[in-house]
């Protein structure tokens, strides 16, 4: 094992650079289509998290954190906040908390689009799942790197 837990494979490393954005876009796609087709916030979050995990294995932990830009802890917090906020609009129209609210938009090129609070909620789920999984994975990998380093490459 090397100190940063990466697999030191040139092919994987090169592939990871391409796969990461593709997988992230795919996760957003899954998130958005989730209401009608298989997908949704939970699955999309897992896909996004696996994408970063792949990058972590292929390159190293520090680069994976840099690519992520946000602290996983913050992602979880924002996700929970978004999730709770999505329940609020219902209160203002006198319905019970979390009753879904929908808006029908007629966009010039895309046609009719329904936007609702459930989508917002799904975004919250998405963020929490990414945050939770990566928080565990990254800190595990980081701790591992440190220990190995300490013991001279274990």
């Amino acid at each position: 094992m090397n100190s940063q837990f990466a697999l030191q494979s040139l092919i994987l490393r090169t592939a990871a650079h391409f796969l990461l954005p593709l997988l992230l876009i795919f996760s957003v796609f899954l998130l958005l289509r989730g209401h009608n087709e298989p997908g949704g916030g939970f699955i999309a979050g897992l896909v996004a998290a696996s994408a970063v995990a792949l990058y972590m294995f292929a390159v190293d932990v520090r680069s994976a954190k840099r690519v992520l830009r946000f602290e996983p802890r913050d992602l979880m917090g924002w996700g929970l906040l978004v999730g709770v906020i999505s329940g609020v609009p219902a209160v203002f129209v006198g319905q019970p908390f979390f009753t879904s609210q929908w808006l029908e938009l007629k966009l010039p090129l895309l046609g009719e689009l329904k936007v609702g609070t459930p989508l917002l909620f799904d975004v919250g789920v998405y963020l929490v799942v990414i945050g939770a999984v990566l928080l565990i994975l990254l800190s595990l990998a980081e701790a591992e790197g440190k220990t190995d380093h300490h013991h001279g490459g274990g």
Binding site: S50, V125, L135
Partner: protein, 770 residues
């Protein structure tokens, strides 16, 4: 809004008190004391109207939560007015006194907050007509008392005493709450003014004994009745104004108030008379006995307060018209002289630095005014003609002599106690002031300032004036209060002179013997030295033991339940789940398992076979990586089954979760030491059996669930409504984010918490290794 405003004003002023104190400095005490003074005048204005009010009482109701039909209601009658006047009147002197007594103390602002909040709570308690609001105020007085006893919070003894007082009174409070709710259920109302007229309903109800014991437990702990008396002397750790106010004149009488208040509903039975009479009489005797044994000034006064509380309880138990009059007169007299004497004790401490009676002596020249009014208050305490204490003592003797039960016993105890009280009065009224000048810790340079003297002077003088004008006080207030307790009109009876009769004789005898006892005080303390042994086995020792017992018990159960071994947690959870589910399944339901294997296709059977093999490998392999890999195989097989049975979403999730789990396991694997077969065979067999039992349980449960239908499945509703009201064709997702969004929110919160937990664990381990 009058009464409501009167009760709440204390809380409002308490909230701004620190700024008043900061802004006005040493005059803050007098300014803040204006509130109790105004309240006193307000409550006094009710007095003339009592005669015209229906039943001698006013009922005031305010909407509190109108949508639920909950009202905040107040009951103003003789009893509540007597208390309200004492609370606001003595409150005035105490707040003004504290401003000077605690001058320069860095927490004086906080003291004002607490004492005013206490005053408001106490007013709320005695004026409430609603049982629930009464209880809330009751507990508020316990909490403010706790904070005030622990005012010098850097002193470990003060903290300990505060906690002791809180535990004892709040434990009683819990019992009281239960008792009050039971009362409301029996009486069909939470309003005191409705319950008080329906006494027979309670006395004949099966729950009567339960209600009585629970309510009395609350009252006895609050009013420091034997064997719960020990917290009160310890509460003297509080600053002296607090002792004078809470632990003598007002709060400790809350229990007495409630017993008096509920007398029309719960009183008049044999159980009531015996319980109150006996506990009261014993408390009275034990209190005055311990008072005579103490030399600490506040200690001595505290025990004599215990004696007074016992006397009041006993009188309420006796229950006759005379007894009620005696109780109310005694209550008034006691609050006046004991308030005055505590404030005098504070002056002794403040000016001469004396906390113990043996340190004092010959202070009359230095403190002439204090000497005079301490003597006056002591006269009332001793029950010497013409003070109000004398009137009360006469009535007390008359009431116990005519008591319907236990008259002999109560009379003997009352006379012996009265004799000892005379000695106590002499100790506080004579000993510090006369005789040779003692070498006190501080030499008083001059008489105490007006703020400190105002309370003792006025309260002690009132004790004398009310004695002289006993009939007038009786007609104005005491007989109204007694009527509220008695539950029927009471004709005024108080007067200074009832002629030569047995009570007067007993009064004279107790006075003479008491003075004799005072002269032999040191001998008395020496002779009763053996009583120290009782400390080791008394109620306080029992309290200490039960406290340390509770700590031991919680330590023990934590060690057993929270042992820190994951394997034992799992074992406990799994075994109890299997046990409970199986028992319920076979005793409460008729399990009907319909196992039909005919429809299984070849590829399905193949997947199941692979799954089983992978599971077997994962538990038998001797390589960690192999175990992880085969567990992954199990997961993927399960995912495959989901997909086959068209649960695409669940299948995808399973695959992803499985992938990430394997990654995490791999990351963790490297941290573990080499694989060793340390567990003996017997343990492995036990674990295998448990695993099999859990698996069997789940299988049985699943099969039973698919053949038994208790209610219509909700899936049909979701399938129907998903598109029209959820605007989504993916039912699983619509359920997650719309129909059951709140559940999902809970789940993601749990997920986040779990992640934070794992993160903390990893980080702390990493920190440790550095």
């Amino acid at each position: 809004m009058g009464v409501l405003l009167a009760v709440l004003s204390g809380f409002v002023i308490a909230a701004v008190a620190p700024w008043v104190h900061r802004g006005l400095g040493r005059h803050g005490g007098w300014v803040l004391a204006a509130l109790p003074a105004a309240l006193f005048i307000y409550f006094a204005s009710f007095l003339p109207g009592l005669g015209e009010a229906e039943g001698g009482r006013f009922i005031l109701e305010y909407d509190w939560i109108p949508s639920l039909g909950i009202q905040l209601s107040f009951l103003v009658d003789g009893l509540s007015l007597l208390f309200a006047l004492l609370i606001s009147g003595i409150g005035f002197f105490v707040v003004a006194y504290a401003g000077r007594y605690l001058e320069g103390h860095r927490d004086l602002g906080r003291f004002y907050v607490l004492i005013l909040a206490f005053m408001a709570s106490m007013l709320g308690l005695v004026l409430s007509s609603n049982l629930i609001s009464l209880f809330v105020f009751w507990e508020l007085t316990s909490i403010t008392s706790y904070l005030l006893i622990g005012y010098n919070h850097e002193d470990a003894k003060a903290r300990k005493s505060a906690l002791q007082g809180l535990f004892v009174t709040v434990a009683g409070g819990l019992a009281l709450l239960t008792g009050l709710i039971m009362m409301a259920l029996v009486g069909g109302s939470y309003e005191l003014h409705e319950l008080l007229t329906s006494g027979d309903i309670f006395r004949e109800h099966d729950w009567y004994m339960g209600i009585l014991l629970l309510v009395l437990l609350g009252c006895f702990t609050k009013s420091a009745q034997y064997p719960f008396h020990f917290w009160l002397p310890n509460a003297m750790a509080a600053p002296t104004p607090v002792s004078a106010y809470l632990h003598s004149a007002t709060m400790v009488k809350a229990g007495v108030y409630l017993m008096a208040r509920l007398n029309p509903s719960l009183g008049g039975t044999e159980a009531w008379m015996l319980l109150l009479g006996l506990f009261g009489a014993v408390t009275m005797f034990v209190g005055v006995f311990l008072s005579l044994r103490s030399t600490g000034i506040k200690q001595l006064l505290a025990y004599s307060t215990v004696m007074a509380l016992g006397t009041l309880t006993m009188l309420i138990g006796v229950g006759s018209e005379t007894a009620m009059l005696a109780a109310m007169a005694f209550l008034l007299a006691h609050s006046l002289y004991k308030g005055a004497l505590f404030l005098v004790a504070g002056i002794l401490d403040h000016e001469a630095g004396c906390k113990d009676i043996l340190q004092t002596g010959g202070l009359r020249r230095a403190l002439p005014v204090t000497t005079a009014f301490a003597g006056l208050a002591a006269l009332s305490l001793a029950g010497v003609l013409p003070a109000l204490g004398f009137v009360a003592k006469e009535l007390l003797f008359e009431a116990v002599l005519e008591a319907p039960a236990l008259a002999g016993l109560l009379s003997i105890l009352a006379v012996v106690s009265a004799m000892m009280v005379v000695a106590v009065a002499a100790i506080i009224g004579i000993r510090p002031w006369y005789g040779p000048r003692a070498d006190t810790p501080k030499r008083p340079a001059h008489e105490a300032p007006p703020a400190l003297l105002a309370g003792p002077v006025v309260l002690a003088s009132l004790g004398l004036l009310f004695g002289l004008g006993a009939g007038w006080v009786d007609q104005g207030l005491i007989s109204w209060a007694a009527a509220a307790v008695y539950g029927a009109p009471v004709s005024p009876y108080l007067s200074l002179w009832h002629g030569f009769n047995l009570p007067l004789l007993l009064s004279g005898v107790s006075l003479a013997l008491g003075l004799l006892l005072y002269l032999n005080w040191e001998r008395f303390r020496r002779f009763t030295g053996f009583m120290e042994v009782a400390n080791r086995y008394g109620p306080e020792a029992a309290y200490e033991k039960s406290m340390s017992g509770m700590v031991w018990l919680s330590g023990w159960q934590t060690r057993v339940l929270q042992n820190g071994y994951l394997r034992y947690y799992l074992l406990t959870i799994l075994v109890s789940t299997v046990g409970l589910v199986m028992v319920t399944l076979f005793t409460r339901t008729d399990v009907n398992i319909d196992l039909d294997l005919s429809g299984i296709l070849v590829h399905e059977a193949f997947i199941v076979a692979v799954l089983l093999m992978a599971a077997l490998v994962s538990v038998t392999t001797r390589s960690r990586l192999g175990a992880v890999a085969s567990l992954g195989a199990v997961g993927f097989c399960v995912a495959l089954i989901y997909v086959l049975f068209s649960a695409a979403d669940v299948g995808i999730t399973q695959v992803l979760v499985e992938t990430l789990t394997v990654i995490m396991l791999v990351l963790v694997l490297f941290r573990l030491p080499g694989f060793l077969g340390l567990t003996p065979m017997a343990l492995r067999i036990r674990d295998a059996l448990i695993a099999l039992a859990v698996g069997t349980m789940m299988a049985v449960l699943k099969l039973a669930a698919s053949t038994t239908q208790y209610a219509d499945s909700i899936s049909d509703y979701f399938i129907q409504e998903s598109q029209p009201s959820g605007y989504g064709r993916n039912i699983v997702n619509v359920i997650l984010v719309d129909f059951r969004a709140l559940d999902t929110l809970g789940e993601i919160v749990v997920l986040a918490l779990a992640a934070v937990g794992v993160y903390a664990m990893i980080k702390f381990r990493a920190e440790d290794r550095k």
